[in-house]
């Protein structure tokens, strides 16, 4: 092997690494660029009034408080639907299930559910909850739809958390004569709780940011008051952005508020995700097993 051919190979390596680094940094640049642009244009709209007041003057002034409240209700509702279903499913899959065709089908089902487009979820929610079950366009219908949307996320994270509990824990418990269910309830689940929490928080973030599932099932352009029952329509942050930008009555004048709403939504979702990431990092450091 001659040194010149070796040098040639190292040149190729530098080129390749350069490409690799370039692509990663382009990605980082895109993210930071978008965030920076929105922060710059939206920060002017942020104020205590913006977060606590309802919109005034055809939404050219005032705030987005009803949308924040609406998003809150919808997200909490989604978690109330998705978390129990998800955890129990995950517990079954990791603790009780025997390998076989049934489990394969369930897993395929979960993966496919994860891949269903959000607008199809919206159609489904419309057909089942709004119309057939006659809930109407409401927090209830929206929460159920969103809850099913985030179910695969919660199942996936819970499964991972449960699997990471060492088998020795279970074996020790069973060796002491504790029943299987008691083992799960008192030993496995508490140990897996931080991981499950992370997953649910990520699911929460996703539910807060989705628009298409709530377009036909829960969201309204403007509500005079805050919702007083789960059968009311609500305003919601992602839907608010969409309508103000595409279907509003004063699109240009509300532009600063649109940026502000986008910023609030981003802060909310990224904040939620960041909390989840930090919790996960803290668990990984704390774990002594």
């Amino acid at each position: 092997m001659t040194t010149s051919s070796l040098r040639y190979r190292y040149v190729k390596q530098h080129v390749f690494f350069g490409l690799v680094r370039l692509s990663a940094f382009v990605l980082a640049l895109a993210l930071c660029g978008i965030l920076a642009y929105i922060v710059v244009h939206g920060i002017g709209a942020l104020s205590w009034e913006f977060i606590t007041q309802p919109p005034r003057d055809a939404m050219t002034k005032g705030g987005i408080m009803p949308a924040i409240v609406g998003t809150f209700y919808l997200t909490v509702g989604a978690i109330l639907v998705g978390l129990p279903l998800g955890i129990v499913s995950a517990v079954y899959l990791t603790e009780y299930a025997k390998q076989g065709p049934v489990i394969r089908i369930i897993r395929i089902g979960i993966n496919c559910l994860a891949g269903v487009p959000s607008v199809v979820f919206g159609l489904f929610g419309l057909g089942l909850f709004v119309v057939s079950l006659k809930f109407g366009s409401s927090i209830l219908a929206g929460s159920l739809t969103l809850g099913f949307l985030i179910l695969p996320t919660i199942i996936g994270a819970s499964e991972e958390a449960l699997k990471s509990v060492p088998q020795t824990f279970r074996e020790a418990s069973l060796a002491l004569g504790v029943s299987k269910w008691q083992t799960i309830w008192r030993i496995v689940l508490p140990s897996a709780l931080p991981g499950i929490l992370t997953g649910s928080i990520l699911g929460l973030g996703r539910a807060a940011g989705e628009t298409a599932p709530i377009m036909f099932t829960a969201a309204a352009f403007f509500t005079a008051k805050l919702p007083s029952s789960i059968f009311d329509e609500v305003m919601a942050l992602p839907y608010h952005i969409y309508v103000l930008a595409t279907a509003g009555t004063h699109i240009e004048e509300t532009r600063p508020l649109q940026y502000g709403t986008v910023l609030v939504l981003i802060l909310l979702v990224l904040g939620i995700d960041l909390v989840a990431i930090l919790i996960r990092a803290a668990i990984r450091r704390r774990k002594k097993w």
Binding site: A58, L80, S229, D232, V243, T246, I251
Partner: protein, 282 residues
């Protein structure tokens, strides 16, 4: 245990939130984006005087408004067009009797970018442009540049009006931009010097230039007198005669206070032509 406490708290919150509405009445309004600014302002004023009433308002297009009445998913359906025969039949099948309330007058105005030198067009020219048969502004007396036609999607009452007055069932070229609302059309035309669009009168503001049709400019006077060829009523539909809060809200819009709101938003009050000087805003 912490999980238990959190779960209990969550359930309590849920129950509190789920307590069914007892006293406050609910009005759900959906439909036309043309009527939306009127409904929005009226809503803001109305709720200050009637704090107990929960009103929720959405856009989506006249088709959505009428559908909401037919499907009984709304109390008031805003529409910038008359209900169609098929919709009346569908409503009858579902036991719904749509009643129209005229709340304002409007004119359908073709608009172009302010830099466009064209002053007016005929109905025939407008139709050919939207069919895609006239493709360059120089063919209608403008500069030598292509025409970008901006239209509304199928749920729009404004689109139906355009079809009624201009297209007369001829198909709009699929290459036309389909936008979701008057507001979106305004934004698009104000930013695109090749473009032409059409708006309800209340949306015609500084950023676009209104064209005369058959030599007549759209003003509150020409709209009411029908001298301007593309004038229309704006409706709120209800299922049967309205009752309770719904009736009060519609009565409010028809009242002088409500009609002042109509004029303030750039439309034409039903009582008569708006006084000179008012009408178009900003």
């Amino acid at each position: 245990m912490n999980i238990r406490k959190a779960a209990a708290l969550a359930i309590v919150c849920c129950l509190v939130a789920a307590a069914p509405v007892l006293a406050a009445e609910n009005i759900v309004i959906k439909g036309s984006t043309t009527v939306l600014p009127i409904a929005q302002r009226a809503l803001e004023t109305y709720m200050k005087a009637h704090p107990g009433v929960q009103i929720s308002l959405s856009g989506g297009g006249s088709g959505e408004g009428i559908k909401a009445i037919v499907d009984k998913t709304a109390d008031i359906g805003n529409s910038s067009r008359e209900i169609k025969k098929e919709e009346i039949a569908l409503a009858a099948k579902k036991g719904v009797q749509p009643v129209a309330h005229v709340v304002a007058f409007d004119a359908l105005v073709p608009v172009v970018h302010p830099s466009n030198p064209v002053q007016g067009l005929t109905v025939e020219q407008l139709s050919l442009i939207y069919q895609g048969k006239i493709t360059n502004w120089k063919e209608v007396g403008g500069k030598d540049m292509r025409i970008v036609a901006i239209s509304r999607d199928s749920s729009s009452g404004t689109f139906e009006s355009w079809d009624h007055f201009v297209m007369k069932k001829a198909k709009v070229s699929p290459r036309a931009q389909m936008l979701a609302s008057n507001g979106a059309v305004y934004t698009a035309v104000s930013k695109n010097r090749y473009s032409i669009g059409y708006l309800g009168m209340g949306y015609v503001k500084k950023g676009v230039k209104a064209l005369a049709v058959a030599g007549v400019q759209a003003t509150p006077e020409t709209a009411l007198s029908r001298q301007y060829p593309m004038s229309r009523e704006l409706y709120m539909y209800t299922n049967g005669e309205p009752a309770g809060e719904t009736a009060k809200f519609i009565a409010f819009i028809k009242s002088p206070t409500g009609q002042k709101i109509v004029a303030g938003e750039g439309f034409v009050p039903i009582q008569g032509a708006a006084p000179a000087g008012k009408g178009k805003k900003k």
